[in-house]
C-alpha cells in the first residue's frame, strides 16, 4: 500500500504524516509513506488545499489533519477491497 502526504512541509503536514505512521504501525501493515512536497505533483491530484492524504492514488482528505483512527478506517477499507 502506498500512502502519500501532500503538503509543503508545514506543521499540519508533519502531524498528518505522524498520524499516518501511527496508523500503519498500529495495524501492522506493509505500507510505504511518501511525503509529496512539489507543488506540481500536489496540483496533479486536484487538491485545492493541504495537507492532503492519498491512499493508493485516491485522495481521502484535503485541508485538514486526519485523525489516526480515520486513517486506520481508510486503510482497512482499502485492504478489504
Amino acid at each position: 500500500m502506498k500512502i502519500e502526504i501532500l503538503g509543503m512541509g508545514c506543521p499540519k503536514c508533519k502531524k498528518t504524516t505522524q498520524n499516518a505512521q501511527m496508523a500503519v504501525e498500529e495495524l501492522g501493515i506493509d505500507a510505504e509513506i511518501i511525503k509529496v512536497e512539489e507543488l506540481d505533483k500536489i496540483t496533479e491530484y486536484g487538491v485545492m488545499m493541504t495537507p492532503a492524504l492519498v491512499i493508493d492514488g485516491e485522495v481521502k482528505v484535503a485541508g485538514k489533519i486526519p485523525a489516526k483512527q480515520e486513517i486506520m478506517t481508510w486503510i482497512k477499507e482499502k485492504t478489504n477491497q
Binding site: 509543503m8 506543521p11 499540519k12 503536514c13 496540483t43 487538491v47 488545499m49 485516491e58 485522495v59 481521502k60
Partner: protein, 144 residues
Amino acid sequence: MGECGCNNTKTRLIYSCSGCADVGEIADQVARKLTRDGYGKMTCLASISAGISGTIASAKGADENITLDGCSVACARKTLENIGVKPTETYILTDMYLEKGKTSVSEEIINVVSEQIKHGIVSRTQPKKEQENNKNTGCSCGSC
C-alpha cells in the same frame, strides 16, 4: 492549488456551472473574476462530476463552497449535492434579473454580478418573487 491549511484563513471555493447559455458563460466569468479579486478560488466543477478524488476531498474539506449557476436547473449546486456537500451559498443568475438567452456577456454585467456577490447585495436564499416584493418597498426610480 489553493493554500496550505496552516494559514488559518478560510478556504472559500467557487464553482460555476459554466453552461453553454449566455448566463452560464457569465457565471463562469464571474467565478474567474471573483478568483482574480481574491474573494475565493474557482475550482473545476467538471472534475467533481468526473469523480476526481482530490477535488471532491477539497470540496468536503473547504470552509465555504459557493455555487454560481446560470439558470434554475442549478447544475453546480446539484453536482455538489450529489457528492454530499451542501453549498454554503448558492447563486442563480436568472434569479438576479438576468434573462437566459437574452443577456449579453459584457464586462459590465460580469462586474455588477461579482460585486453583488461580494457585498451580499443579492441574498442567496432570496427567491426572485421575494426580491420583486422587496423592490416595491425600496427606491421608486424603477431602475435599481
